[in-house]
Every structure is written in C-alpha cells, then in structure tokens.
Amino acid sequence: MTQPTTRTAPAPRGPGRRPSVLLSKAGVTAMLGLAALYTLLPMLWLVLSSTKSRQDLFATNGFAPGDDFALLDNLQYLFEADNGIFLRWLLNTVLYAGVGALLATVFSVAAGYAFDKLDFPGKERIFSLVLLGVMVPGTAMAIPLYLIAAEAGLVNSFWGVFIPGLVFPFGVYLARVFSASYVPGEVLEAARVDGAGEFRTFCRIALPMVAPGFVTIFLFQFTQIWNSFFLPLVMLSDEELFPVNLGLYVWYSSALSQGHPQDYLLAIVGSLVSVVPLVVLFLMLQRFWKSGMTAGAVK
C-alpha cells in the first residue's frame, strides 16, 4: 500500500472550510435522529394502537399508551372474528409467500448457475429475455394473468395466485452474480476431472457454496409475494383463499363503508400481527438483505 503523502504545511483554509455546526458529530446525529423519528413513529403508532381498547383508539393520543391495556383482548378478538378467518389468511400467506418463494429460489438458483457456469448456445440472448422479465412491471401483469387464468379455469383458485409467485427473473439475475462470486471455476474443473456428472456437481458442490445467495433471493421474493396486492385483488373473490393483505383491506373497507368501527381495530391489530414476522425475519437476516440490495448496484 502506498502511504498518502503527508504535507507539513496545511492547505490554506478559506472561510467556508471550517466545519459547520451541521456537520459536527452532534449535528449529524441530530439530523439522522429526526429521520429516524419519521420512520419509527408510525410503527410506534401501530404498536400502541394495537394495545388500545376501541374507546381509547379514538379518545387518546396516538403516540401515547391508552388507559386500558387491551392487546390480549384485541388478539383474541382478531383470531375469533369471522369464525377465525384471520388464521386462515395467515396460513394462506405462508403458503403463497413461503412455499412459493422457496420454489422460486430453487428455480432461480438453478437457472442462474447454468447461465454463469455452463456453456450452451444462445446463452446471452436467452439471458436478455430474463432481463426483459425484470423490466416488465409486476402490476401490469395482473390483468394479463387474470385473462389467461380465466382461460385455464384458475381464477379464484389457490393456483391463480401461487403459480405467478414461482417466477422471479431478478432472482435469476442475482443468482448469476452470486454464482460468479461464490463458486470458483477451479472447483468445478476439479470435479469434472474427477468424473463427477454436471448435475451432481451442481447439487453437491455448487449449491452449498451459493447458500448465502439462496437466502438472499428467498428473502426478496418472499417479501415481494407477501407485499403483492393487485394480483390477489383481481384474482380472488373467495375469502377463504385471501392472503393477509387482501383480508386486511376488506376489513378496512368494510369499516369505512358499512360503518363497522370494530373493523378499524381488526385492521390495526391484524396489521401488527402480520408485520411482526417480517420485521423479525429482517432483523435476523440483515446481512442477506444487504448483499442482495447491493449486488444490483455494483454492476
């Protein structure tokens, strides 16, 4: 390493060169603190509101605790409402997002590895198809998917929402990047020399090496499916098939349109219950998020 040249005479300091108050450590911390208030206060509101009784929800300050601590009552009410349909929605969401993202990740990693490590004709042209898939806006696909699902008889069925979640073009792109950085070519050469089959090499050698990338891709697709709203909204009419998102929206709309104020509380407590697993997942798996977010940016 070359040492940066040190000068004995400091550069002349103009009037603007003095560290300003804003850039002092305290100033920086204060500004970041303000931004953190903006991001955290709405979440605090959600947590506090979930612990309030119906009266307190409207009568007490949103950023202060209520007079009664009604969280347990609210949870009981949430899971008993409409014959316990909320649990059904949670379960559906776990299937749509959990199982769907798991399969989508397996398919993405397999394809990304093939694009990175294997030789086949027309490779880059086929890959540009994947990139095109990344560019197609997801919500613009909702009506085309609805139309073709209607043709296939899959409207208002589990599969109408589940199958579209199995495809994640950005995951293929990420998997190719991860395969290039995690799986050294020499290891594969050695395996080939030893006479291991290509598919065996992928399963036994490459797959364990891209495991961190696997988690990252899974997380991305998992949150994407958990987030999706337009597609289930157009695809599903049977409440038994709803993901949590859609169910909460229905409760919220009925609170508005039919004046069921108890549904306000249901939407709030339900939101908290469905956000908690996502926040926990994120906190536990922070580094996997970051590697996925920045893998796109460095390219």
């Binding site: 070359t2 000068r7 550069a11 603007g16 850039l23 450590k25 920086v28 970041l32 931004a35 953190a36 991001t39 709405p42 979440m43 509101w45 509101s49 409207f58 300050n61 949103g62 398919f107 993405s108 394809a111 590895y113 093939a114 294997l118 030789d119 086949f120 198809l129 898939g133 560019m135 197609v136 806006p137 997801g138 613009a140 696909m141 909702a142 009506i143 085309p144 139309l147 073709i148 199958i163 579209p164 495809v167 089959g197 290509e198 949150t223 709203f229 157009v234 998102n245 909460l248 919220y252 508005l256 349109s257 469905s274 956000v275 996502l278 926040v279 922070q286 970051k290 977010m293 940016a297």
Partner: protein, 298 residues
C-alpha cells in the same frame, strides 16, 4: 464438433433452465401474448342488449379508446406529478442520509441503518393503512398536532393526494435506497478522500464533488427502479381512495385498468391499457438506462 463434456454441459443447462423457463413462459410470455390478442377484440351487444353479447374483432380500437380517454391520460398526468414530487424527495433524501451516515459516529451507524430501513419490512398495503389512519382527522395525532398549531391540512383531499401518496412511498423506500447508497459510498477509495482533505476541501464540498459523482451508477439504478415502481402506483391511492373517495376511480393508470376490467367488464380495453402501461415502463427504463450511461461516460 462437440465433445462429450460439452454435450453434458448442454444437457445439464437445459435441465437447470427448464423449470424457470417453463414457468416464465406460462406466467409472463403467454399472458402478454394472450392479452395482446384479447386487446384486439371488443364486446358488442346486439340490438337492445337482449340478443346477448358477442366478441368482435376491433383492431386497434381499444388502444385508440384508451389513449383518447381523458381518464387514462389523466392517470399518466397523476404519475408525472407524483414522480416530480416523489423522486427528488426520496432519492435526494436517501442520498443526504447516506452522506450523513458516512460521517456519523461508528456506533450510531448500525442503529440508524436499521431504524431507517425498518419501514421497508412493512408491506405496502399495511404502510398505506397506517398512514391513512395518521391522515384521518380525529384519529390521527399528527393532524391534531398540526391543527393545534393552526395548520389545518386535509391530507385526504384530492389536492393533496399526490403528496399523501408520495409520503407513504418515501417512508417505505428512503431507508432502502439509503442503505444502497451508503454501501456504494464505502467503495469510494480512501486515498481519494484523503487527497481531497489535504487540498482543503470541506465536508460538503467533498460530498458534492467527489462522493456523489463516484456513486452515480448506484443513483441511476435507484432512479430506474423507482420510476418503474412509480408507474405501477396502485395500492396507496387505492387505500386513500376508499377513505376519502375524493380522487376518483381512475386516478392512476393501474386504477383505470382495474375499473375498466371489473366495473365496466371491458376486458379488451383493460388488456390494451395494461400493455400500454408495460410498454410505457419499458420505454422509460430504456431511456433512464441510456441517459445514465451517456452521463457516466467521461
């Protein structure tokens, strides 16, 4: 000539690519082609509507109808206004926060990254629900607080809908993009920054003339993804709309599509409009990519 090993590689590649591409064909290519076909037809009711409806070939009529419909065009005007508010605030804000984080105390960095990113773990629909409550007078501590200071802002009015929707998106994405920019800033070589310091450049000067230009590719990519996301605006206004009904049912292009399909049962028009939205997003991303490439060349 193909060696056995080359053949084995092709076979394995086909095997590994097959699941993705079969499904990709089924849920992306086939629906797009089918929607393209459907968009060429329109439902015509014969006589007084007693004779039943029939599908008739309409050529590009649905596209002409969508493009000449003030409601559909209005949706793109909404998006333009939304982008004009949202992108400078969110990308600019994320950039400033990343630069601040870059100079913050080491201990504070981990906390602030987490605190600012956290809203991104909240699904868009729930974020919209939270904020609609925070916008609703009587329920919201924010409006109460502002009203006590003499500021009566109706966040749910049509005039403020662009700002109210943009704020929800800023809340969700500012931390996400800050983390990306911050990671890119870590790759700026220390020697460059040392040299700037020796030359007497202050913190703000270094940030503007060295750090920001060096992470321009990351910024361009963030703008690209943000634009594609903005064109799809649906969830936030859908929730705001059900609370206030002030913005109409075709406020964004996607809302127009939903109304055309499920209120008017005009699937040909909805398909045409969907494809126009996809095309618009593709052209926009092409332009942004082009623009950032030509700018980043020395």
């Amino acid at each position: 000539m193909t060696s056995p090993s080359a053949r084995a590689q092709r076979r394995t590649a086909a095997l590994l690519l097959a699941p993705f591409f079969v499904l990709f064909t089924a849920v992306t290519i086939a629906p797009l082609v089918y929607a393209g076909w459907m968009s060429l037809f329109t439902t015509r009711t014969s006589g007084l509507g007693f004779g039943g409806a029939e599908e008739v070939f309409a050529g590009v009529d649905n596209y002409v109808q969508a493009l000449s419909d003030p409601a559909f065009r209005g949706g793109f005007v909404t998006i333009a206004a939304y982008v004009a508010v949202y992108i400078p605030v969110m990308i600019g804000g994320a950039l400033v926060l990343a630069l601040l984080l870059d100079t913050a105390l080491a201990k504070a960095r981990a906390f602030f990254q987490l605190a600012l990113f956290l809203p991104h773990a909240v699904p868009g629909l729930i974020a919209a629900l939270i904020w609609v409550y925070l916008y609703t007078p009587g329920l919201s501590p924010v409006t109460d607080f502002l009203a006590s200071g003499g500021l009566d802002i109706d966040f749910l009015s049509a005039d403020n809908a662009v700002f109210s929707a943009a704020n929800i998106a800023v809340w969700e994405w500012i931390g996400y993009n800050m983390v990306i920019f911050y990671a890119a800033l870590q790759a700026v070589p220390g020697e460059t920054l040392d040299a700037a310091k020796i030359d007497g450049a202050g913190g703000i000067r270094t940030a503007l003339s060295i750090k920001v230009p060096m992470i321009r590719p990351a910024i361009a990519l963030a703008v690209l993804f943000t634009v594609i996301g903005s064109v799809q605006l649906f969830t936030e206004p859908k929730v705001i709309y059900s609370a206030s009904s002030s913005i109409g049912s075709s406020w964004t292009p996607n809302m127009f599509v939903q109304t055309a399909a499920f209120t008017h049962n005009n699937f040909g028009l909805a398909a045409a409009a969907s494809l126009l939205i996809a095309l618009f997003a593709a052209v926009l991303s092409f332009l942004v990519t082009r623009f950032s490439r030509s700018r980043s060349k020395p």
